[in-house]
């Protein structure tokens, strides 16, 4: 009963807060904002929507924003995930009490064979998502997550097949380096980091968007291998 009362209190508070905001947002000032939204100079989003296609050549404006206009955030974001992978390994590596190694019963033949059969195709789906990040919804992070789900499937379905973490480390380092180097090439060529220095191509085809698809491939590989190494570490297979 106490829980019910406190939860309903919370809901009432939430209602109150949001009413405060909505009054401010959609009242007299809301009209003001709506007027501003139409002007390119004031609102980022409106400007990106109207000019992004010609400036970056990528059909997916969110991809343009993520990789180009706010690409520096994305560099930081990739770093955060990298930190999580490394930090998780740090936290788990000093474990003295090794987890009791229960000999896991092998999965049924159907599951085992099915995993084998599907694993490459899942990786392909992930690659498809990050290769087409600049054209369709999705991108490096989403594709990377799909790739990692392939590794998760191997861990769940093919028990005893340890995920090799050295491979993850190498992929992760190289793709991270590729991202930074691409960014620095922009600095060297045009004087600003993450500059889209390649030709933009004709819009809405695969070869468009300049560096955006290349960076997305690097991000996809990096995210996939990072999440993969997180799975490997949590499953206790990695050293």
């Amino acid at each position: 009963m106490r829980r019910l009362i406190s939860l309903s209190l919370l809901l009432i508070v939430a209602l109150g807060i949001s009413l405060c905001f909505s009054g401010a947002y959609f009242g007299a000032e809301g009209a003001n904002r709506a007027g501003k939204l139409a002007q390119d100079r004031v609102n980022f989003g409106q400007r990106y929507n109207s000019r992004g296609l010609e400036e970056n050549g990528a059909g997916n404006i969110v991809a343009s924003v993520v990789v180009n206009y706010r690409g520096f955030d994305t560099l930081g974001e990739v770093t955060v995930l990298f930190i999580a992978a490394v930090g998780l390994a740090v936290v788990l590596s000093t474990r003295r009490e090794k987890p009791a190694r229960v000999r896991a019963e092998p999965a049924s033949l159907v599951v085992f064979t099915g995993c084998r059969f599907l694993f490459p195709l899942i990786l392909l789906l992930g690659s498809y998502i990050f290769i087409h990040g600049h054209l369709t919804p999705g991108g490096g992070f989403q594709g990377g997550a799909v790739v990692a789900s392939g590794f998760l499937l191997v861990y769940l379905g093919c028990r005893g097949k340890g995920l090799r973490s050295a491979g993850f480390t190498v992929t992760e380092s190289l793709s991270g380096l590729a991202f930074v180097v691409l960014a620095l090439v922009g600095l060297a060529v045009g004087g600003s980091l993450l500059l889209n220095f390649l030709p933009k191509g004709s819009a809405l085809t695969l070869f468009s968007g300049g560096v955006i698809p290349i960076i997305y491939v690097a991000i996809g590989l990096k995210v996939g291998s990072e999440l993969g190494s997180i799975i490997a570490n949590l499953s206790g297979e990695a050293p």
């Binding site: 809901l11 905001f21 959609f26 980022f44 404006i61 343009s64 788990l92 992070f141």
Partner: protein, 119 residues
Amino acid sequence: MSLLSPSIHYVGCFSLVLIGLYVVLVKPNLIKVIIGINLMDTGVNLFLVTVGYIQGGTAPIFSEAARQPEGMVDPVPQALVLTAIVIGVSVLALALALTIRVYGHYGTLDLRKIKGLRW
């Protein structure tokens, strides 16, 4: 209901944030605390998306050349949410790793029984 309709998204996300905060502050179980943090994250992400939403807007993707930029929702909050989600996932992964270690040391996840974790 007409009073609520423009702000119903805000009600949803602030409820999520507050429920998350409640869980973090009240629950004694470390796993539940982590779930609470995750709830808060979800609420905040929802809030960010809501900020950029335009009534009846479409996704900011030019799937064919004929699409017009008018009526597309703001792409920036979506990019921000992407970043925020990744950060949330990272924190979650690290929190789970720490939880495994805490459990290894104390054999319990009850914050009341763990020596220093009182506040």
